[in-house]
Amino acid sequence: DQQVKQNSPSLSVQEGRISILNCDYTNSMFDYFLWYKKYPAEGPTFLISISSIKDKNEDGRFTVFLNKSAKHLSLHIVPSQPGDSAVYFCAARSGSGGSNYKLTFGKGTLLTVNP
């Protein structure tokens, strides 16, 4: 049972335009949501996170929106740059708190930004 779903395997956008990556989840107990970016032959790199009690978090060109009622979050990248081309993973954190936690990842979305 996939608790975190990224339904778009790929997305292609033009340089300078907005990229919107979507993610849905089923477990209401997730307390944080994170986005990671992954280039080939490298490990995932953290981009931005949002607490389950917030609805928006912004960091430079990256903004994450959380809609708890719909169990949906999205990552907006504005403006998109060719260097943003990578696989983007949505991840959700769960655990009993303190030092006990794990991330549940979606399958990822391959973003291609065309010059």
Binding site: E42, R93, N100, L103
Partner: protein
């Protein structure tokens, strides 16, 4: 400052063999987690260790085991390898929990191929 380092980067084993993967966390990080990423999927949680104690275990068979050493480095062991164990094995470390998202920093991974 060195990031999370993993060894070996690539290895090939045959069915039934045993493998040991190693991970050195970022200096000062006391928590290490292991994830398995099969081609086309997102990373899947295997283990989390904090202060040398197992704090979480994912849905993996007993053939998978791990430990954390006094210097906070970690080993992942897999016995009786199956073809389905072929994957990228990612190690991640994080700082002492202080609230917030406790972002995981990933290494580049160990690519295991089982023939």
């Amino acid at each position: 400052d060195a990031g999370v380092t993993q060894s070996p980067t690539h290895l090939i084993k045959t069915r039934g063999q045993h493998v040991t993967l190693r991970c050195s966390p970022i200096s000062g990080h006391k928590s290490v987690s292991w994830y398995q990423q099969v081609l086309g999927q997102g990373p899947q949680f295997i283990f989390q260790y904090y202060e040398k104690e197992e704090r979480g275990r994912g849905n993996f068979p007993d053939r998978f085991s791990a430990r954390q050493f006094p210097n906070y480095s970690s080993e992942l062991n897999v016995n009786a390898l199956l073809l389905g164990d072929s994957a990228l094995y990612l190690c991640a470390s994080s700082d002492v929990p202080r609230g917030g998202a406790n972002v995981l920093t990933f290494g580049a991974g160990s690519r295991l191929t089982v023939l």
